[in-house]
């Protein structure tokens, strides 16, 4: 008979990280746009439409810090390619876990389809099982363990799912000025009652996001530091602090390489089974 069930080692965390990838690849160039009569939706569109480069390779380090100060770490190698709708894909992402040791070589492959309504293709490779499995997509509102963010937080939420109101301009980091945009969900079952985005006025970088829970109480704050690679701005690190539990998560991006001309064959189950990238 030989019946056994898989132990899905860190798939959720890997998925979180994968989405992070799509968020931090919101790399920026200084756009020339008309600033006249900008609405909240206009600003959010500008943020979403920013160029992202052709591909990226990086190391993503996730540091989870409990309210008592205990730390746990997850380190992954991330490969991402921007398809821009070509072949029916927005992007493809490949991850390998480097740390902790018992999850090393765990691989995760995501095909983000451009076809409307088509959910991501997700494959997980577990070295302990020695096989690649198709896994079901995650709930956008699930606040998965291992991170203080939901999938929706990380850029997977469509703009038309919220209303966006420009609340004004306020001074923010490095004596710069930020647009302050309040986004409220249209559906009643959303995880948050509102999110407030702080977006740098001069180059559309989001530097802070404040989340409120369904009771309209402050829930968590996300602050983002950026690094420049060529002409592109990319996340350097992001800290998410849960104001209610005291738990926090730091997402660190290092060893960044942009536009390495990745081939399509990198984002296949063949590479997934190897347990490590090029």
């Amino acid at each position: 008979m030989g019946i056994n069930k898989s132990v899905y080692v860190l798939p959720v965390i890997l998925f979180v990280i994968s989405i992070i990838g799509q968020a931090f690849c919101l790399t920026l160039v200084v756009p020339s746009i008309s600033l006249a009569a900008l609405t909240g939706l206009d600003i959010m569109k500008k943020v979403e439409e920013l160029p992202q480069g052709d591909d990226q390779k990086s190391t993503v380090t996730l540091t989870l810090i409990s309210a008592q100060g205990q730390e746990k770490k997850i380190v992954t190698s991330r490969y991402w390619k921007n398809y821009r709708g070509k072949g029916g894909f927005y992007s493809k992402t490949l991850f390998f876990t480097d740390f902790p040791p018992d999850a090393k070589r765990t691989g995760f492959l995501i095909w983000d389809y451009s076809e409307e309504g088509k959910t991501d293709g997700l494959w997980l490779y577990l070295p302990s099982l020695r096989k690649v499995s198709v896994i079901s997509s995650r709930d956008q509102n699930d606040a998965f363990m291992g991170s203080d963010l939901t999938f929706a937080d990380m850029g997977q939420r469509r703009l038309d799912e919220d209303t966006h109101e420009l609340k004004g301009e306020k001074p923010c980091e490095d004596k710069k000025v930020c647009y302050v945009v309040e986004s409220k969900p249209k559906e009643a079952s959303a995880a948050y009652s509102k999110r407030i985005f702080w977006i740098l006025k001069d180059d559309w970088r989001t530097v802070k996001i404040e989340y409120s829970d369904q009771k309209k109480d402050p829930l968590k704050v996300q602050t983002i530091k950026w690094q420049k690679s060529g002409d592109l701005w990319v996340w350097k690190d992001a800290t998410v602090k849960n104001l209610q539990t005291g738990h926090s998560t730091i997402f660190g991006i290092s060893n960044l390489k942009v536009n390495s001309s990745f081939g399509d064959d990198l984002f296949t189950d063949r590479m997934l089974k190897r347990g490590e990238g090029p």
Binding site: I3, S6, I13, P101, K104, F144, M145
Partner: protein
């Protein structure tokens, strides 16, 4: 450099195959129990040779023989130095140190396992396209040193103490049941070389192949035999017996074509004799499959994605991992004369051909998946009081099909998987001991809580026809990045079986329910 090591590796591999070292066997033991139908695996243990002793440099002023020895020694020294400088520093080492402690809480309660394991997984990349990997497993079970053997493995419903043969010594008073104690050892679990080409990969060596799509069910996944040392309770890497083989993958666009050549032929390995988990046993006089090229196993598999469906088509030319007993009976009809019938076993491994298909389709939050296989050449045992018209007592060849369907989803952040499986014997007659179809179902749930530091999960399996169940709740606690605790229960329910020759798979262990804890340090 790479080609040199590749040549060395291939030479060693072929030498091992030629000399049968990869088939190293222990003497086959004979069970005192009437053996279960179609079972007679051979226990195989690989031993790791101890490391070479350090080489001492010879003194000056030596004889020619000594000079020759000195030259050899210098060469060896240079070789070792070169290896240390060029290879050892680049060897990647990972693994774990683990303690597994199990306590059976059904009468008689006892610590049935205090197993300490060191697993080391070295790997070395000769180049980005050539990599050598291994997995070594050293273990020591403390339970046998602190508890009575008979308490650890109590007598089962159908067990009995075999009296010594005439002229043989009395049984060990400390081990009356003559339990085969497997207390410590070192095994080379896996050892293989990966070679990556542009459109093709090879993996050569001792390895595990997973052909299935639906996790946990052996429909297509029949390449490696199983180790039942701890029933089916161990992880895949410990339960699947790695085999020496050559695997080649050719990538053709979205398709992957895979071929296997397996000269290392083995059957399932039962739990050691009369231990806690022993169930089926080896048959007397079972001959292993002769080591010949024509006796190799081989397989072909095509897989890929078409129209949003993941698919796999597989063909496996292999040996039945459960050998057929080929029983014959003499003395039937003489019972009135006070003569008991005599059953003779002529066990043999039999060739099988398996044709399989697997499919998986993601529908967003739901994944549907299934596998189907047609198996040609299987022999089935018939009942002892069968009529000659029905084929008589012995074994009958009947093809069979097996399939599994399943669904995976995420609900409230929990991964959930449900499966239903059937084995169906074709052209069935009632004289066959096995039921015409055997049904099984499973449920698996898992959820990460407290920021992933705690992971409760449950696996429940039922053998539907026989009303047997296995429940496996467990809780994983990630104490640090490297230290993990695991607490769990293994609960068996069901009847032990209709007779000593036919033991139920779960029900036989109805009184072996246990709680266990694991502590694992990974590096």
């Amino acid at each position: 450099m790479s080609s040199l090591f590749l040549s060395i590796f291939l030479s060693i591999f072929l030498l091992l195959v030629q000399n049968g070292i990869v088939w190293a066997e222990e003497p086959t033991e004979v069970s005192p129990l009437p053996p279960a139908e179609g079972t007679a695996p051979v226990i195989i243990e690989e031993k790791i040779e101890p490391a070479e002793a350090p080489i001492l440099l010879p003194m000056q002023g030596t004889t020619p023989e000594v000079a020759e020895e000195q030259t050899t020694t210098k060469f060896s020294h240079r070789l070792i130095t070169w290896m240390r400088e060029e290879i050892v520093k680049d060897i990647e080492l990972r693994g774990f140190l683990k303690n597994e402690t199990a306590y059976r809480f059904i009468t008689p309660p006892a610590f049935t396992k205090i197993l300490n394991i060191l697993q080391v997984e070295p790997s070395y990349s000769f180049s980005p396209d050539v990599k050598l990997s291994g997995r070594i497993w050293a273990y020591y079970d403390l339970a046998y040193d602190i508890q009575d053997i008979g308490t650890i493995a109590p007598m089962k419903t159908f067990g009995f103490i075999q009296p010594p043969d005439p002229g043989q010594p009395e049984p060990d008073i400390e081990n009356l049941k003559d339990i085969k104690v497997d207390k410590y050892g070192i095994n080379l679990k896996e050892f293989y070389l990966d070679i990556f080409f542009t459109d093709m990969d090879f993996r050569i060596g001792k390895q595990i192949i997973r052909w299935g799509i639906v996790e946990g069910w052996r429909i297509l996944d029949e390449v490696n035999p199983l180790d039942f040392k701890e029933h089916i309770l161990r992880d895949v890497s410990d339960r699947y017996i790695p085999l020496w083989m050559v695997k080649g993958d050719y990538y053709l666009g979205p398709l992957t074509l895979e071929g296997l050549w397996i000269p290392d032929v083995r059957g399932h390995e039962p739990a050691p004799l009369r231990t806690e988990w022993s169930q089926f046993q080896k048959l007397p006089d079972l001959e292993p499959v002769p080591r010949k090229l024509e006796n190799s196993e081989a397989g072909l598999r095509a897989s890929g994605m078409v129209g949003g469906y993941e698919f796999a088509i597989a063909y496996l030319y292999h040996w039945d991992d459960f050998p057929a007993a080929f029983r014959s009976i003499a003395g039937l009809g003489l019972g009135n004369l006070g003569i008991s019938p005599t059953v003779t076993f002529t066990p043999r491994y039999r060739r099988l051909q398996s044709y399989g298909l697997g499919l998986a389709k993601s529908l967003g939050k739901i994944v549907l998946e299934g596998e189907f296989a047609y198996v040609d050449g299987k022999f089935w045992g018939t009942c002892t009081d069968c009529t000659p018209e029905g084929g008589g007592f012995g074994e009958l060849p009947r093809d069979y099909i097996k399939h599994v369907v399943g669904v995976k989803t995420v609900l409230y952040g929990a991964d959930i998987s449900m499966n239903y499986s059937q084995d169906i014997i074709l052209d069935y007659i009632s004289d066959i001991q096995q039921q015409r179809h055997e049904d099984a179902a499973s449920l698996f749930m898992r959820k990460e809580i407290r920021y992933g530091s705690m992971v409760p999960q449950l696996l429940a399996i039922t053998l539907v026809n026989r009303h047997e169940y296995l429940f496996r709740p467990k809780l994983e606690y990630r104490y640090t990045d490297k230290i993990t605790f695991l607490f769990g229960l293994d609960i068996f329910t069901g009847e032990p079986g209709p007779d000593p020759g036919r033991l139920n798979f779960f029900g036989y262990f109805d009184e072996d329910d246990r709680a266990y804890m694991e502590v694992k340090y990974s590096f």
